[in-house]
Amino acid sequence: MTTADAILFLTWAGLTAYALFGGADFGAGFWDLTAGRRQGAAIRDLIEDTIGPVWEANHVWLIFAIVVVWTAFPVVFAAVASTLYIPLTLVAIGIILRGSGFAFRKSVADPDLRRRFGMIFGLSSIVTPFFLGAIAGGVASGRVPPGNAAGDPIGSWLNPTSVLGGVLAVGLCAFLAAVYLTSDARRTGDAALVEAFRGRALASGLTVGTGALLGIVVIHADAPTLFAGLTAGALPLVVLSAVTGIASLALLARRRFALARGTAGLAVGAVLWGWAVAQYPYLLVGSLTIDQAAGPPATLTALLISLLVGAVLVVPSMVALFVLAQRSRA
């Protein structure tokens, strides 16, 4: 494994953490928006309590991944950002509105204001992962060439693979959030709330699973290189994702919520790693490999050392935060 490979591995681990934790926060926004009238207040209270202490820390994974990519693979970052600047701008706006909408709602008591800030939080929690997924679809289908805004400014993110990526991202976030929240709801002792999230977890899991099956057709037609990778080297991960996804539904049905958390996380993580393996060793499909895109060795070494030192500081702190956040609702 080269230094560049090691850095990419850590970046992908960071992105996976973003998908599992930040993604669940987005999904919580989805359920917050669609909470409805009957159980709305209870659902929103649980969401506010659960993601309140952790959403800022969960969000930093994205910033972390971006700055590591621009340091280690600057030409890739520049190519992706300049070609996909429309969805990236929308993601940035979505992040601003979502974070501030959530923080503002948490801070005010007035019901009318809370409803409005909640709408902003919920809507931007759907828009943001959609465009993140669309960006992933654009990169994975080889629509970003190297160069200064060299790709199609519209077609690079408005295409079958991108739309699939966007819809799947929203669905996976909703599924993860519902599974996590089912487990969290159990601690409240409110059986109706547990059932509400269990139903949502099962429904979203079935929907996303079906969507992923249909997605195979889309990828086959629209992104043959990605399809070839997914059905060759990445096949074990694709199978793992399917198996753990189905297992999550079975565990939810049998009310084994803690275990379902683990399998649901595996199912989503396997999707990300499947994509990574399918694309390896290309960063920009068909034009730029990891080795070609990697920055100078001195930078890569310094970055790797910094990341390892950072991990020693960040990971235990993060664990402490999660432990405290869980304990607070006990």
Partner: protein, 445 residues
């Protein structure tokens, strides 16, 4: 294949929009970010006093401040994220060419910010769930993380001013030394100046809010205590900031002489250069300035006869916009000395009467000091950024050579104006509602 080759410079008709969008995002974020750096220290001081004999008023203050910090930190985190996007969206050629040189400080800044974000979660949510001493200690990584992230992100800006740690041959970067880039010559003065500014903005900003409260309710113990802690922090750091500012100007004299020439409106190189106070530099000459003979030579080189480099030493196309740079510098210095005077006023009153000045004039001045510190900090950034023009990387890459080839930049810029207006309105509304909802102590009987 050499990937840099495909990143050709382009003719970008909307360069203005890219610059304006970056300026807007930075100028907005930097104010809130200052509170992320300096405010946690105030919260910890209040909590420490509340746990160690300070009494109920410190407890009320610590909780109130922590709540405000929580809101400001959230807004700061999301408004900072867009900047990392914009580095690539707006300036892909800068990043493609130099990302591996200036990227490391950003990556380490990311780690520092991680620590800050994690511990702010622990601190805010652990208040009643952790033993008092442990809780106080969980605030320290917030302070350290905030200062460290400011330090690293400003080293990246310092590098733009003093680019070192690489060799450039025909547009291709080689021989990269990222540690040398972080420790570039501009780093010590720039990072110190900014971190002090962040603490001053936090101190005078929070003090201004309490001065406002004191104007309405002069007997409020909460506002009096809050004012004294916050104002003292700002006032103690002001003289240090003036010393560092002087060092920064001396640094410019030898390392970025054209920026200093723009600051002073010095069009011709000369020995015994005068210091221009006020004045309007237009059409190649300084008008209406109060000029102190030999003053600039003395300040910049500690020698009244020293040669100070003027704008005439570079072609017109390589000169920064003199008028805004000069005016911004004058504003920053004037406010700095105004804050110094205000601090001295309080110190004098305290020495004589063990009390803060009672006059309405002092309270009004203290209210103005909050926005004043923000304006001074923003003016300082205008000097740094506009004074570097037309270069994005000083004497290495011009701004127009760094910009994206993408079209339609004004649409993004105008959209973001709307987003920032909404964010500003929302932040003000929520801060006001939050403060109104918290019990304010009445006048003591």
């Amino acid at each position: 294949m050499n990937a840099i080759d495909v990143f050709s410079a382009v003719d970008q008709p909307d360069l203005w929009a890219a610059r304006a969008q970056m300026a807007l995002s930075l100028a907005w974020h930097i104010v809130i970010a200052c509170f992320g750096v300096g405010f946690p220290t105030l919260v910890l001081i209040a909590e420490y006093r509340s746990r160690h004999g300070g009494g109920a008023v410190y407890d009320a203050l610590a909780h109130r401040w922590a709540k405000i910090l929580g809101i400001l930190f959230a807004v700061g985190a999301v408004s900072g994220t867009i900047l990392s996007f914009e580095m690539g969206i707006l300036w892909p050629r800068l990043m493609a060419t130099f990302g591996s040189v200036l990227g490391l400080p950003f990556a380490i800044e990311g780690i520092a910010f991680f620590i800050e974000a994690i511990f702010i979660g622990i601190y805010l949510y652990g208040w009643d769930r952790l033993p008092p001493t442990v809780h106080l200690l969980t605030g320290l990584p917030v302070v350290v993380g905030g200062i460290a992230s400011a330090w690293f992100v400003v080293t990246a800006n310092a590098w733009l001013n003093q680019p070192v740690g690489f060799t450039l041959t025909n547009g291709v970067v080689s021989g990269v030394d990222p540690w040398a880039a972080i420790l570039n010559p501009a780093t010590p003065v720039e990072t110190t100046h900014m971190i002090l500014a962040a603490f001053m903005v936090s101190g005078f900003g929070v003090a201004a809010a309490h001065a406002w409260g004191l104007r309405r309710n002069p007997a409020s113990q909460l506002h009096r205590t809050g004012f004294l802690i916050a104002f003292s922090l700002g006032a103690i750091l002001t003289p240090a900031q003036i010393v560092v500012g002087d060092a920064a100007a001396q640094f410019l004299a030898t390392n970025q002489p054209i920026k200093l020439a723009a600051i002073e409106g010095l069009y011709q190189s000369q020995r015994g250069a005068p210091l221009s106070i006020g004045g309007i530099p237009v059409d190649g000459a300084m008008h209406f300035a109060l000029q102190i003979p030999d003053g600039l030579s003395l300040l910049a080189f500690r020698d009244p006869n020293a040669l100070v480099v003027g704008l005439d030493t570079v072609p017109a196309a390589d000169r920064p916009p003199v008028l805004p740079v000069h005016l911004a510098f004058q504003v920053m210095v004037a406010i700095g000395f105004g804050l110094l005077a205000l601090g001295a006023w309080l110190a004098w009153s305290w020495w004589r009467r063990r009390d803060m000045p009672r006059s309405r004039r002092f309270i009004l001045a203290a209210i103005a000091a909050g926005p004043g510190a923000v304006v001074a900090m923003e003016a300082g950034w205008m000097v740094t950024e506009l004074g570097r023009q037309p270069w994005i990387v000083y004497r290495v890459m011009r701004v127009e050579d760094a910009v994206t080839a993408a079209r339609g930049l004004p649409i993004g810029f105008f959209t973001l104006i709307g987003v920032y207006l909404a964010l500003t309105a929302g932040t003000i509304l929520v801060l006001r509602r939050t403060l109104a909802a918290m019990p304010e102590d009445g006048p003591p009987s």
